[in-house]
Symmetry: C2
C-alpha cells in the first residue's frame, strides 16, 4: 500500500505525533471494538462470553497476529501480562536451560525494568547468579562460557541504537548461552525476523508501534523446539494443560500456552486485536524502508536548521531503530514548547529529546513541519520560560 | 440504601444472573467510562494522558477504593497484573520474611492456580521448600513452627465454605508463620476486615463480586508496617521509587507502590474504577446480611422442591460465602438447561452446580424464580439430552 495511511488513525487536528515509540495513537475502529467487547460481549453474554466470544483463545489468536509482524511462526507467540513479567518468564526459563552457569549478561542501554527484573529474579533464586551489564558495543566481546543468558533490547530506548540481532545471537550460541531479545522498540518498527535469528526467547510490548493502547498486554515468543519444555516459572492456571480440570498439581501445557499465567485482559486484548488490523495491507519491510527515510530526513533537516542540537542516534539508518534522539541542554523546556505547539515527542533525562517516526501516520511533510516548529522555538528561545510566557503561546 | 439496586446494572432481559461469583455483570456507566478512556484520553491526549489523565496514579487510586471494601486503610492496596501474579508476589515476600523455614501450608479447597504458583516459586527457588496441602478443616491444627507461610483462600470456590480468618491468622502468628489470604471470593461478597485480621498479605481479583469486567486487574494488600520493606520479587520499573529516573539499579518504592510491576492496564482500570461506584451507597455489612438471607432462602427452596440435589455448601450462613453449591449426577446437563432458560449459574467438575448470590442485583423473587425453573427442569428431566431436544426449548 501507499504510505502514510493517516486515514487509519484518529489523530487530533494540528498534531504531528512523534511519540508512537512510547504510546501509539488510536487506530480507527478500536473504540467500536472495545464498545462491542464491553456492551455486547460482557454485558450481553456475561459469563458465557468465555465460550461464545472466544475470550479464552484471545491470547494465542492475537499472539499469532503479532507473530507475523516479528517473523515468527503461528503458535510461537502468546499475549498477556506486562513486558516486565514476560522478561521475568524468559529469564527464568533461560536460566533453567543453563543450570550450571551463573551470569546474566545485558547492557547499559537496556531498558531499566529489564535489568530490575533480572535483579529481582537473582535475589529470589539466591543461588549466586549475577547480572553483568556492559556498554552496548562491548556485549559481543564479553560473551563467554560463564554466561547463562544474554538479554538485550534490540533498539535502545534512549538513542535508537540497534543491535545486530543475528550476530549477537550467533555469538551467544557459540558460547553456549541462551539468547533473549526484548523487542519493545522493534515490533512494528523494524523488520524483525525472530525465528531466523534462532534466539530462544523474545518478549515485547504492544502499546508502542503496535498501537494497542495504554496498558496493552505484552507478548512472549518461545522458539518452537523449546515450547513444550521451557520452564514456566510463573505457573498460573491458564498455562496448565487442562485449566478447567482444576487439578491440584500443575502440569504445563505442551506448547506456547504454558507461558500464560492468569485471566487474560479481555478488554485490552479487544483493543489490541482491532488495532493490529492496520498491518493487514502492508509489510514490515515496506514500513522499515519508509521509516529509515523519514529518520534520515529529520536528521538532515535538524542538523541544517537547529545547530544547538547534537545528534545522539546513529547516523547510519541500518543500525538505528525508528526513532531519532538529540541532546540539548534545554531539552526538557524545548520539548514542552514543542508539545504546546502540537509537535509531540518526548524527553528522557538528562537532556535527550526523542522523536519517533512511524510511516503509517507520519510523512515527509510532517517531518519538515516539525522541524519548522523546532527551528522557530530555538531561534526565538521559546524554551526559555520567561520568553515563553511573554509570547502567550500557552495559557 | 434499599437492596437490590438492579437499576445500577445492565443485565439482559429475562436473565436471572447467579454467576457474579465468576464474572460480575456490566454496571451502568462503565461503557461510557471506557469510551472516554479510549476516545478522549488515549485518542485525544495521546502520550500526555499519563499526566493529564493521571493514568500513572490509577493503580493506587483504585486500590484505595478496593481497600475500603475489605477493611484496609488508604495506601495499603495497589492494583495490577492478575491474581496469580499477586499470589506469587505475596508468597515470595512471605518466604523472605521467614528465611529459616521451608513449608508453605495451604488446603485442598484452595483455587488450583494459587497452588500452582506456589509450586512454580518453589521450583524457581530450588532451596528445598515444599508445599503442604491439607483438608480445609485440618489447617488450623497443622500449623506449626516449620511453616513459613500459610496461604489460604477465605471462601472455597467450589463449596462456598468460609474459613475463620481471625482464628487461623492468630494461630499462624502464634506459630511464627506469615499469613496470606486470597480474597477472590470474598471481596464484594463478605464483610472482610483485613487489617483487623492482622494478616501480612492479601490478594484478590476484581472481575467477580466487584464487577470490574473480564480480565479486570488484581489487587494486593500489604500490612502497613511491612509496606516499606516487603520483598517485591517481581521488581518492575513501576515499583521503583523513581521510575522516570531510569536508574540502572532497582530501588523499591518505600510503600505499597513497590508491589507494582509494569505498565498499568489503563482501559481495564477505567472500567473497574467506574464499576466500583456501585459501592458508594452501601456497606459491606448490609450486603453480607442480605446475601446470607438470599443463600438461606435458596437452600430452603431447593431442598424442599428439588430433592435430587444434595447441598455441599455449609448450611450455616456464618461459615459460608456468597454462593451455594449442590451436587447432582447430571449437574452439567442440568446447568446447560438452566442457562438455556435464562438462569445462569455454573458448573464445576465433577458434579457441582454453583450459584452465586449478589444482593446488588438479585432479590428474593429471583431466588424463587430460579428454583421454579430448576424444579421444572428436574421434574421434566430436561437435563436429559433427548428429552431436552423434544421439548424444543432451544434450537
Amino acid at each position: 500500500m501507499t504510505l502514510p495511511r493517516k486515514d487509519l488513525f484518529d489523530i487530533p487536528d494540528g498534531v504531528i505525533y512523534l511519540d508512537g515509540n512510547s504510546l501509539g495513537p488510536l487506530p480507527k475502529g478500536v473504540s467500536e471494538a472495545v464498545q462491542e467487547a464491553v456492551v455486547a460481549q460482557w454485558g450481553g453474554e456475561l459469563i458465557k462470553g468465555w465460550n461464545t466470544c472466544n475470550w479464552m483463545e484471545q491470547p494465542a489468536r492475537v499472539g499469532n497476529k503479532v507473530a507475523r509482524l516479528i517473523g515468527a511462526p503461528d503458535g510461537s507467540v502468546v499475549m498477556g501480562d506486562t513486558l516486565s513479567i514476560k522478561v521475568f518468564q524468559a529469564l527464568a526459563a533461560g536460566l533453567a536451560l543453563r543450570p550450571e552457569r551463573r551470569v546474566i549478561l545485558s547492557d547499559t542501554g537496556n531498558f531499566p525494568s529489564d535489568l530490575y527484573m533480572a535483579e529481582g529474579l537473582i535475589a529470589l533464586k539466591a543461588h549466586g547468579h549475577s547480572l553483568k551489564t556492559v556498554a552496548p558495543e562491548a556485549v559481543i566481546d564479553t560473551i563467554n562460557d560463564t554466561v547463562a543468558v544474554v538479554m538485550l533490547t534490540e533498539v535502545d530506548y534512549r538513542t535508537g541504537r540497534k543491535h545486530d540481532m543475528d550476530d549477537i545471537t550467533e555469538r551467544a550460541h557459540q558460547a553456549g548461552a541462551v539468547m533473549i531479545w526484548d523487542l519493545a522498540h522493534s515490533a512494528g518498527a523494524v523488520d524483525v525476523q525472530i525465528a531466523a535469528s534462532n534466539c530462544e526467547f523474545a518478549v515485547g510490548c504492544t502499546y508502542k508501534y503496535l498501537n494497542g493502547g495504554p496498558g496493552a498486554p505484552a507478548f512472549i515468543y518461545v522458539r518452537p523446539d523449546l515450547a513444550a519444555s521451557a520452564q514456566p516459572a510463573l505457573a498460573g492456571w491458564l498455562g496448565h494443560k487442562a485449566p478447567f480440570a482444576f487439578d491440584q498439581t500443575y502440569t504445563p501445557a505442551p506448547n506456547i500456552e504454558r507461558m500464560r499465567v492468569g485471566t487474560p485482559p479481555v478488554l485490552q486484548l479487544a483493543a489490541l486485536e482491532e488495532a493490529l488490523k492496520v498491518w493487514d495491507t502492508t509489510t514490515m519491510a515496506q514500513i522499515r524502508e519508509a521509516s529509515v527515510a523519514l529518520c534520515d530526513l529529520f536528521i538532515t533537516q535538524v542538523e541544517a536548521r537547529c545547530p544547538e542540537l547534537t545528534l545522539i542516534s546513529p547516523r547510519d539508518g541500518s543500525v538505528r531503530g525508528s526513532q531519532v534522539s538529540f541532546s540539548f541542554e534545554h531539552g526538557y523546556a524545548a520539548m514542552q514548547a514543542l508539545i504546546a505547539q502540537g509537535v509531540i515527542g518526548d524527553f528522557r533525562a538528562p537532556n535527550v529529546m526523542r522523536f519517533g517516526f512511524t510511516p503509517l501516520y507520519i510523512d515527509k511533510e510532517d517531518v519538515v513541519g516539525a522541524v519548522d516548529v523546532l527551528e522557530n522555538i530555538l531561534n526565538n528561545r521559546l524554551w526559555d520560560a520567561d520568553v515563553f510566557k511573554r509570547t502567550h503561546l500557552v495559557t
